[in-house]
């Protein structure tokens, strides 16, 4: 199995999280899987237009902006997706007749090959922005990862695929809502857009299980980053992948990586 950068099938690209502190919104965060990066901001609960007011809960509005051009069909579909999968994790009934507005900006141009990775980055950035805002009560943290199945290699499943066009014959993004009881983390799959051309449900189950394990890593990275939430400089949290080579390539802000660079 040879993936780019020698990643294992269950390994994600290095995760970078920073809390940007955008001026006019209540919370904002940036999340990236390697080069696939997304920025999300949250404002809420704020005043709502009378037409979209809901008497028993807050209205959740998600807007996704692609890197270039006005939001077209893909952006609107992604926005509807993100809205559907964030709704179970928010306690919208605490703030009726108000608006929670999430605006997500994709920071890479969206091509067919990285669409699922961008979806996952947007979802994770939105979860982080909601944690940063702290004004909307939540009942869990939603984390997402992209999974693909390679054509060769006996249909091996890989996480966070960057294999490029034509190498995968099945792919999709899985989103999990995480809760924690003591040291025990529970993940519940809340959404997927898995598409496969051939094979049966066992492929979907295997893909979901693999995604769940990778989403655990995302949740752990989010937990670490929350500790640095109030700093002036954006806190950069790197999830050091298990292989040394990836650690050397990753952009750094910790002192210990300088030693590794000298190898």
């Amino acid at each position: 199995m040879s993936r780019l950068q020698g990643r294992q099938p269950h390994e994600l690209r290095p995760i970078k999280i920073s809390f940007d502190g955008l001026a006019r919104v209540d919370g904002s965060a940036r999340f990236s899987f390697g080069p696939i990066s997304a920025l999300s901001s949250v404002s809420g609960p704020i005043e709502v237009r009378l037409a979209s007011e809901n008497a028993s809960q807050a209205t959740l509005e998600v807007l996704v902006r692609p890197l270039s051009n006005v939001p077209a069909t893909e952006a609107k579909a992604l926005a509807a997706t993100v809205r559907a999968l964030l709704t179970p994790s928010l306690l919208l009934a605490s703030n009726p007749r108000s608006l929670v507005q999430i605006v997500a900006q994709a920071l890479v141009s969206s091509k067919k090959a990285n669409a699922n990775a961008v979806t996952a980055a947007v979802v994770n950035a939105s979860s982080l922005a909601l944690l940063n805002a702290g004004s909307v009560p939540m009942r869990g943290v939603v984390c997402a990862v992209a999974v693909g199945r390679r054509k060769g290699d006996g249909g091996a499943l890989v996480v966070d695929p960057d294999e490029g066009h034509g190498v995968l014959d099945a792919e999709g993004c899985f989103a999990f809502m995480f809760t924690r009881d003591g040291s025990d983390t529970q993940a519940q799959c809340v959404w997927t857009n898995w598409k496969q051309g051939s094979g049966d449900e066992s492929v979907l189950s295997a893909a979901r299980e693999l995604a769940g394990r990778a989403a655990d890593d995302v949740y752990a990275a989010i937990h670490t980053s929350v500790e640095g939430i109030g700093q002036a400089e954006p806190t950069i949290v790197l999830s050091k992948a298990r292989s040394e080579e990836t650690a050397m390539e990753a952009i750094v802000d910790n002192e210990e990586s300088d030693d590794k660079m000298e190898i």
């Binding site: 609960p45 605490s94 004004s135």
Partner: protein
């Protein structure tokens, strides 16, 4: 004891007279071992020494009204007998014209649009718009509430306001030792300050922004350096 918790984390809060503060909710456990307490925001979990009061300490910029909190509002509109006041929440608050000390039907306060008032939230329910009062409920005297004239309004995060209201915090005594100042701290992320010279008002405003946890949280030494640079 302060551990970082994320939303959805179960909190081991158990006491006969348990009181849950901000950031904690009780989930009715259907079919499990009973109701459990989970955190609803990201922050540090704290509890009182005897374990009866638990809460999650976190910072945010958006105010959600809660009763008995003092806030600074901006008059947005005159409606009938009262005013609509913007307190930074999702809904405007209503302030009755008679909710001032020594106000009668013939002697109502004449507040213009854009005026600042220091008021107390008397009613804050999620289904109703919040209501304000400009007097203390027991004594019916103003106790500092009412219109504030002159000065300058500084915006900051909610944790900064809570810190400024803490008598043990260093910032206001440090500034007050250098020049006389007045300040009214609202729990909605707004602080009204007033001093004799504009230079001093600007210095106070810059210091509040510097000490704000959202902007890095400068400490006493940092503030002294900043004041030295501002020549106040």
């Amino acid at each position: 004891m302060s551990a970082i918790v994320l939303p959805g984390t179960t909190v081991p809060a158990q006491h006969v007279n348990l009181k849950l503060g901000p950031g904690l909710i009780q989930r009715t456990g259907a079919g499990e071992a009973g109701p459990s307490i989970i955190s609803s925001r990201a922050g540090t979990l704290n509890h009182s020494s005897n374990g009866s009061k638990w809460w999650v300490e976190s910072n945010s910029r958006r105010y959600v009204p809660a009763p008995q909190e003092s806030v600074i509002g901006v008059i947005a509109q005159k409606v009938g007998d009262g005013f609509r006041v913007d307190i930074g929440s999702a809904h405007s608050a209503s302030l009755d014209g008679l909710a001032f000390e020594s106000a009668t039907k013939r002697n109502k306060p004449n507040l213009k649009i854009g005026c600042l008032v220091y008021a107390r939230v008397s009613l804050a329910h999620k289904d109703m718009e919040p209501e304000l009062e400009c007097f203390d409920a027991q004594t019916r005297k103003s106790e500092g509430f009412g219109e504030v004239k002159g000065g300058f309004l500084v915006r900051c995060s909610l944790k900064m306001c809570r810190d400024l209201l803490d008598p043990k915090h260093f910032l206001l005594p440090l500034l007050g030792a250098r020049f006389p100042l007045e300040a009214a701290v609202g729990m909605n992320g707004r602080v009204w300050v007033n001093a004799k010279e504009p230079k001093q008002i600007i210095a106070i405003s810059r210091c509040i922004e510097a000490v704000d946890p959202d902007n890095g949280g400068a400490d006493e030494a940092g503030v002294k350096a900043l004041l030295g640079a501002l020549d106040v």
